[in-house]
């Protein structure tokens, strides 16, 4: 791969000299409209049956608001932990060779392949006070299962592949010349990493972390088994949606789901816009 042209500095405005605009636009728009937007009309169809006051009452219900706090707090903690842990894993997997590397690589996708309920049950088994991990942690005063720590743990488990697998390709693609340049200039490992590598990884890392956060907001199966689901303390928003569905209250479920949807999309849009700016700045002058 080192034979490739040095890629940095190439984000300059494409002048549509490349072919395939029509084809890729056609495929993308067709797919997005049929698979993503059309079903979403169902969600908004449900919302249309609510008056603004009703909608507001549902989404600001005391217990639902408490669930936002729990969910967002735990998801934020999980995302930050995943950013650090995921970066470490991606780095180790790309940069080093060591025995067991393939196994480690394989483990990364496990959280996606396991149905979330299995993940939840297994984590609860391990981290409850009579589980393998719980027995170790409880004497240290850290109770994981049935607290918000458990919720964050389950979120972190189910969303770690987002960070690892988003950072990994970018890191793999990074030319060696970048390292060399930094090191010949006499920078230390840490400075070199911070000044040269991190800026290059930054968009991918932020994307991965953002996706992990968003995924955590909607996660249900993995969390309910370890959360304890006590009102106002460890109830997550996805549970509130689930309760409405059990009551055949599709409109209520859709209303709460729409809040999660808007928050998530706003965050992701912000990341996308920031990313565009960041890359332009990184590639400076050419933009």
């Amino acid at each position: 791969m080192s034979s490739r042209i040095f890629a940095i500095g190439l984000g300059s405005t494409p002048k549509r000299v490349l072919p395939g605009f029509g084809l890729s636009l056609g495929i993308s728009l067709t797919f997005v409209s049929l698979m993503l937007l059309l079903p979403m009309t169902g969600l908004f169809g449900q919302l249309a049956g609510l008056s603004l006051a009703e909608y507001w009452a549902i989404v600001t219900n005391e217990r639902v608001v408490a669930s936002y706090v729990v969910t967002i707090g735990a998801a934020a903690v999980a995302a930050v932990v995943n950013a650090a842990f995921g970066l470490l894993l991606a780095w180790v997997l790309v940069r080093y060779t060591f025995p067991g590397k393939r196994l480690l690589d394989a483990l990364m996708d496990l959280p996606f392949a396991l149905p979330t309920a299995v993940a939840g049950i297994t984590l609860a088994t391990l981290y409850s006070s009579n589980g393998w991990m719980g027995q170790l942690l409880e004497p240290l005063g850290l109770q994981v299962a049935y607290t918000w720590v458990g919720i964050a743990l389950a979120m972190s488990f189910t969303s770690i592949p987002f960070v690892v697998r988003t950072v990994q390709p970018v890191l793999e693609d990074m030319p060696n010349e970048m390292d060399e340049a930094a090191l010949t200039l006499g920078a230390s490992d840490f400075t070199g990493f911070r000044r040269v590598i991190l800026p290059h990884l930054w968009p991918a890392l932020v994307t991965g972390t953002g996706l992990a956060f968003v995924r955590s907001l909607g996660e249900f199966g993995a969390i309910i088994f370890i959360a304890g689901n006590m009102p106002y303390e460890t109830e997550i928003t996805a549970l509130m949606i689930f309760v409405r569905l059990q009551e055949y209250d599709y409109a209520g479920a859709s209303a709460i789901a729409s809040v999660v949807l808007f928050v998530s999309l706003a965050l992701l849009l912000a990341i996308n816009v920031w990313q565009g700016r960041f890359i332009k700045r990184l590639h400076g002058g050419h933009g």
């Binding site: 969600l43 470490l88 299995v118 391990l126």
Partner: protein, 275 residues
């Protein structure tokens, strides 16, 4: 050649930290799953795996994954090409829209499909009139699986293709290469790993999806039960060994895709050595 973080102390520290954390965080749950699957001996495990309903569930799950991957692949590549190689109004919006599946709780995703294509949905009632049933049959399961997994390929490709820029392809255009050749010869080699990760994630998520599928499947044993649904039923009905045996199969499917990836890596490495 010296690279950042190649010092022996740094390397050992980082590898050590990664391995220990991953062992505790990811390997331990896997071990616990296998421990439960084999809790009553290999015979009971085997009887559960070769049970008629388990086999039917495995077939359906793989069938859905095999159909999902190409769809996601075509869409993902097209979308990534579009948003990283061209500028047009609404580009960021489009790029954000593909994240809808991540932003929607899977159960809600299943529900919106159900409300659209189900008996009372506006499209569904028309289909019902023509005796076409999408929901509670494999087409419904396929639809929601595609919905849940479609962003992965695009999401893997976009950051990479952004970082790479398009100068290479532009150079190829000026040399007069036709579109498909450029894609095959220039773009594809540059993005192949990201593409592969996208496929691996798509596959993992497709076989493991529960929430959305549970809403549209109807859970008919031996017919519309995917492996995660089958597992859930066994667990609910106190067949813990059977449930975890199914879970271990899902873990194995995920590991197998990684074996496939290792094979591809090996072939690629060989080709680079002997061009």
């Amino acid at each position: 050649m010296q690279r950042i973080g190649d010092g022996i102390a740094v390397r050992r520290l980082l590898i050590g930290a990664a391995v220990v954390l991953a062992a505790l965080f990811l390997l331990l749950p896997l071990v616990a799953i296998f421990a439960q699957a084999f809790a009553r001996g290999i015979d009971v495990f085997w009887a559960n795996v070769t049970n008629h309903y388990t086999l039917a569930a495995i077939q359906l799950t793989l069938f859905i994954a095999v159909l999902t991957i190409p769809v996601c692949l075509v869409f993902g590549v097209a979308l990534a090409w579009l948003v990283t190689r061209f500028r047009f109004p609404g580009r960021r919006i489009l790029q954000t829209l593909i994240d809808i599946p991540f932003a929607v709780s899977p159960v809600v995703a299943g529900l919106v499909y159900l409300l659209l294509y189900g008996r009372t949905g506006w499209l569904g009632s028309w289909l019902d009139g023509h005796d076409i049933q999408l929901m509670f049959a494999w087409p419904g399961i396929l639809l929601v699986t595609i919905f849940v997994t479609c962003p992965f390929v695009a999401r893997e490709l976009i950051p990479l293709m952004q970082a790479q820029g398009s100068r290479e392809e532009e150079a190829a255009v000026t040399l007069g290469a036709p579109g498909w050749t450029i894609f095959r010869r220039v773009t594809l080699p540059n993005i192949r790993w990201a593409l592969l990760y996208g496929v691996i994630l798509t596959n993992a998520r497709a076989v493991g999806e529960f929430g959305a599928v549970s809403v549209v499947s109807g859970a008919i044993r031996g017919q519309t039960n995917t492996l995660p649904l089958h597992l859930e039923q066994l667990y609910q009905d106190y067949n813990t060994v059977g449930a975890f045996a199914s879970a271990s199969l899902l873990a194995l499917i995920a590991l197998l895709t990684l074996v496939a990836k290792a094979g591809l890596e090996w072939r690629a490495a060989r080709r680079e050595v002997h061009p």
